[in-house]
Subunit: 533 residues, 2 copies
């Protein structure tokens, strides 16, 4: 609809027709989990616009429940059929825009075809679930899959007092983010009564439970929500012999397919990932809207290029927000890259102002240039702001050095004179300039810790609450006076709670000839990240 309405604004004379297979157009599928819990009180609020609106405002004809079953490229016609009817109607086109989106991947599980096994993508799905809630006494819901919709569904189902289990085949929820960030979400999910079954799959779905593949354990499930991901809807394009890539329909920079009169946009196409530099499907509303505009612009003779995606996402998980822009460290490694990364835990706003809470920000950047490759953040407040600032910085191809200098607005309720984004810049730049060496939480273990003299520079009170194995306690405020207690000839690992005092200790020791590393992100990263020593 972004394409249709943009084109109308550019061209009053065109005949613009939209065929939609489903019963609604322009509905807010991102709001569906929230409608389930009545956080969004009225389903009607999800239906943003009707065919009547598009006709009256934009002189666009929208045909609902009407499927395009074939594209006749030779005659420039589409063949349409009203859902449930047989008659085929042929409609001429000069330019055609495909915007068919993605479809839920249907996992191969015994019993997946039962009526209590549903997806949660459309208003019809929502209504089907609600009908079931009314008809039957549902108590437990099992969600198969651990992506964004899964987490939103889990939160909203807990709000209306359902028992919720999540079965995720990988080691953590939200596979696009790193395990240590996801671990913070695991803690939050469990704290809110969600049962997690990770590294596992559903072997079989019974009427009232799901059987795990691993140990045959039965997970109660009066309702099963399948959310194992989506796949670009490419069958129509395939049938028309348009070029298809590994994940979706191939398009050029003006969103045209291999047929110059046919465009494709949204979740069904492959576009360039700015960091990954490879084509891929990005199933996000922002990019889809922009792509629609660009297709319309090109049709109207205003060629504007699509610049690619960075995959900026944000998700509420109970009291936390988690966000990603660019790629996680594990995703970068999977692509063969070897990025540097740092983790910081600054407060969302001035610590002396009430309700300050830490944000964990993990930032990956290029070793040779400092160019930001990916940022992940999780916390109670202010996460979306930092993700968006950093997403903007990434699109401007900024480096961690640029983040040191970035001027952001500050008043006590909103931030700090040194904003969390600046902190990322300070720590990343220090590392790149060689001002300090770090070791990551994921790289320490019981065995290699023995090779270091491990110095905990926190206070004795903090040290007493728990510390790394073999650590000695030399609080930062007395470190300079206690240097005789450590051995200059032994490599030294320093750490504190979030990394700052460890950094100070690094600077004190390294300038005195010690060989030092600081634990990146401190003990908090080890504990919250669920790092097993």
């Amino acid at each position: 609809m972004s394409a249709a309405t943009r084109l109308r604004r550019l061209d009053e004379s065109a005949t613009i027709t939209v065929f939609e297979k489903g019963p609604y157009t322009s509905y807010a599928n991102c709001g569906i989990p929230y409608a389930l819990s009545k956080v969004i009180k009225d389903d009607a609020a999800l239906i943003l616009h009707t065919p009547k609106y598009f006709k009256e405002y934009f002189n666009v004809d929208v045909y609902l429940n009407t499927e395009v079953v074939e594209i006749d490229r030779i005659n420039e016609q589409v063949c349409t059929r009203i859902v449930g009817e047989a008659e085929i109607r042929r409609v001429d086109y000069d330019k055609l825009i495909l915007s068919q989106g993605a479809e839920a991947v249907q996992p191969q599980i015994d019993g997946v075809d039962q009526s209590h096994v549903v997806t949660l993508r459309t208003i019809s799905d929502l209504q089907a679930i609600r009908t079931m809630m009314l008809k039957r006494c549902l108590r437990d819901v099992c969600i198969i899959g651990g992506g964004f919709i899964c987490l939103e569904a889990a939160e909203n189902l807990r709000k209306i007092k359902f028992g919720v289990s999540i079965i995720e085949q990988s080691a953590h929820v939200l596979p696009p983010i790193d395990a240590d960030i996801a671990q913070v979400l695991h803690t939050e999910l469990k704290r809110n009564g969600v049962k997690l079954y990770l590294n596992d799959t559903a072997r079989r779905i019974e009427h009232s439970h799901v059987v795990l593949a691993s140990n045959g354990r039965e997970i109660p499930a009066d309702l099963v929500i399948l959310a194992v991901g989506v796949r670009a809807r490419t069958s129509l394009a395939k049938l028309a012999s348009l070029e298809i890539g590994a994940q979706g329909v191939k398009v050029e920079s003006h969103m045209e397919t291999s047929d110059e009169d046919i465009y494709a946009v949204g979740d069904m196409v492959e576009t360039k990932h700015i960091i990954q530099q490879q084509p891929g499907v990005v199933a996000l509303g922002g990019p889809a809207n922009r792509q629609g505009r660009i297709a319309a612009d090109d049709i109207a003779g205003r060629p504007v290029c699509y610049r690619g995606n960075i995959g900026a996402v944000i998700c509420q998980v109970f009291d936390l927000s988690v966000g990603l822009a660019g790629l996680s460290v594990s995703a970068l490694r999977y692509l063969g890259q070897d990025p540097l990364y740092v983790t910081v835990h600054p407060p969302n706003h001035a610590s002396y102002y009430p309700n300050a809470s830490p944000i964990t920000i993990k930032t990956a950047f290029e070793k040779s240039t400092g160019c930001i490759l990916g940022v992940q953040a999780v916390g109670i407040a202010g996460v979306d702001k930092r993700i968006d600032v950093l997403a903007t910085a990434m699109q401007a191809r900024m480096t961690v050095f640029d983040l040191e200098h970035l001027e952001l607005s500050y008043a006590p309720p909103y931030g700090s004179a040194k904003d969390p984004v600046n902190m990322v810049g300070f720590v990343g730049s220090n590392l790149l300039r060689g001002d300090y060496q770090i070791i990551h939480a994921e790289d320490i273990n019981i065995k290699n810790l023995k090779a270091w003299q491990v110095v905990d520079v926190r206070s004795p009170e903090e040290f007493a609450t728990g510390h790394l194995p073999g650590a000695i306690n030399l609080p930062i405020n007395t470190l300079r006076n206690q240097l005789s207690k450590i051995d200059k000839s032994t490599p030294t690992l320093v750490y504190c709670y979030i990394g700052y005092r460890g950094y100070l200790a690094y600077r004190i020791l390294s300038q005195r000839g010690f060989s030092v590393v600081n634990l990146d992100g401190g003990l908090k990263t080890v504990v919250e990240g669920g790092i097993k020593l």
Copy 2:
């Protein structure tokens, strides 16, 4: 202290000494208004660090209550004196960093020297006010000045039930922003019981009231807070014959003064404004911190340039947040520039998600390039995020065209698939590409409205609640069918509530040969901006 601690991290061997005239170091003066109302419960929370901390953590010697009275540049010594004593001590330096900040401007008002006339900048000020509150029965406070601290003070004084009046000599509060944005704040201040006296000054301060200059009216005032602005503290630098500019001490890009062994940082120096391209004082914590780091870097032989300021600010005003990055339209005009600007009112997040509220964003950009020159925003939620995203975009020298393409994170609780920042991009780009013509609210009046046929494209229900003089109502959803009701040969002004439907009407009419302008930001901009027709 940023300079001192940064230098210590870079150089363990240096002798670093800090002289502070006042009784505290490193206290959070930004938090003082909030401590007044006990939003920040304990004053101690404002004192971020003590000399003991700096000695133990950083081996930095901090001398409080110690004034530097003279700089002996020939011998590279400073002359210090303990406050209240006579003895002068001379201390050698190799490098000297001045960080004396700014001092409150003392207005020339009769009665300004009385004990109930105070400033609100330091912990001592805070304590003095609190002592007065305990000793006397204070009911009414008059704030002279209308800047950021004034507004924060007004909010916090109302929270603890004081009567509050503000006397501001210009036509609106927050002179760095435009009148129409300030008008939104005026409404909020009045809604919260703050009395505003604009375009006025205090002629005389009596024991229990302030007399206005304009009409001699008496404003009740058991306490008077002076907040008419600050001035760089340059007297010591002047005494040392360092170069001083129009507003503060002159510095080069590594923060060195005209004496290469003397640096100056913070509110006392003139630095380059990135948009203004002129030196000026920016009294903000973020820039001050960065400048301190840069001075230390330079001393340690790591030359890093200061990149200049954009003046990114944010302020809470009761239930609203107001922010600015770059320059207002009036400030740009004052500098002789003739920027384009647009005003949008998008919701802070998806409108179907609960508690969506509009943000008014006014963005100025260069006519020739689209380069963003200034952004002002006001609203209930999400203002700080958009200011920071746009501040980042400005520092990356982005244009309004870039904002169209900017990918930001989206989920219903946080934003929209078309974020408010994208909306700024769409509207600005449409204007720059000549896709539509606008007229600004400030440029319409009863007289020139008569030259147009004025078409209100809102619904009849909206039209009935009030409309522009002489407007006819042709709702956008029936406009194409009612074209015969308007005259193609008469210039046409279209408008709606926030500008979007007016834009659609513009596109419909202009493509049919009408000569059209759309009212930028719609009727909301006229009404909220307090535009007098």
